[in-house]
Symmetry: C2
Subunit: 201 residues, 2 copies
């Protein structure tokens, strides 16, 4: 059972509503009074649960960052697996986070720059490490012949471009369910790179 109330705790509700608003209108353009109205309470009441507006953004960004990082660790846990397998699992994990938590992912991707120091630097560092891991996987895949691309660095950019674009077009009520989307996107992105690639379909 739970020690917390049966539904979402108020703080969790605030996080959720703030995430949706930050995504739709942008962090800077969302006022605390707007957030309060969406929750059906007054602006001042929010501060019984949080310390500041930026704390909301901070929690969203770093929670999503944690999910991405955990997925990456799980995908590369098997040291003996080839780089191309690591890459496939990592892309798949990344897509699943994007789909499971589209609003928070969109905030993570576009609103992080409104963090202030020192959180901003910490976030950027996490981001760089994450991207570097993908670049390494692709480079190792090319080195061992499993992947083929005229320009690994550029391939990494294209990969992240496609991943980052997903929240812009994904609709939960679309024809494909999340698993199918993740599978298809992974297949498509890897299909363009692999020298010999057979999708699981």
């Amino acid at each position: 059972m739970e020690s917390t109330p049966p539904t979402l705790s108020r703080k969790a509700q605030i996080d959720q509503t703030a995430t949706a608003l930050f995504r739709r209108r942008g962090y800077a353009a969302t006022s605390m009074r707007e957030l309060a109205a969406a929750l059906g309470i007054e602006a001042g009441s929010i501060y019984s649960h949080i310390r500041s507006k930026e704390e909301l953004l901070h929690r969203i960004c770093f929670r999503v960052a944690d999910e991405f990082m955990a997925g990456l660790r799980a995908a590369t846990a098997d040291d003996l697996a080839p780089a191309a397998v690591h890459l496939r699992l990592a892309i798949d994990s990344h897509v699943r986070v994007l789909i499971r938590d589209t609003d928070a992912s969109a905030v993570f991707l576009h609103e992080w720059r409104h963090l202030s120091e020192p959180a901003l630097s910490e976030f950027v560092q996490l981001q760089r490490g994450y991207e570097a891991a993908f670049r390494d996987m692709i480079a190792r895949g090319v080195a061992d012949g499993a992947l083929r691309t005229p320009d690994p660095a550029f391939a990494t950019l294209t990969l992240f471009a496609s991943l980052t674009w997903l929240p812009n077009w994904y609709r939960p009520d679309g024809k494909l369910n999340p698993d199918q989307i993740a599978e298809r996107l992974t297949d498509q992105l890897l299909g363009g790179l692999a020298t010999d690639y057979n999708p699981t379909t």
Copy 2:
């Protein structure tokens, strides 16, 4: 010669500085006092040249939209050319706009949602038409056998994803000059689609 002063007109300077600020900090998070400070004047002075803050955003967004549209028209001017050629020229033109005017392009891509009606609807309509044109070119290219992709709609998404991502990584002081970037990006994006493609290099 020119009837305007030798350097940029003040209004053009304001546009330029606003573009850079809107890009770096976001439209909503950029204050008129910040903009004024960057120009070395007082906030009130700006209103001798413009009517409102949103007018700045409006001008940036619709000017870039015009450039994209003009490029698309030029690329598809030759009715007799095959769809794959139209597509190549259109991608090339798009990339050149992105590179020539990176700041304005980034504002166009990310800040347009802060436009208010009716400009917002007008902008969205332009955007949809532009994307539809690319989708059609890809679909026709697939139909006539010049292009190959398991999912034309998804290919269009990936294409726009890569294009939209460019301002995020492009640096004018990089190794490649604008022409080389445009050529390489066009080659790479089309290379993944074409059934038989020989880059111009």
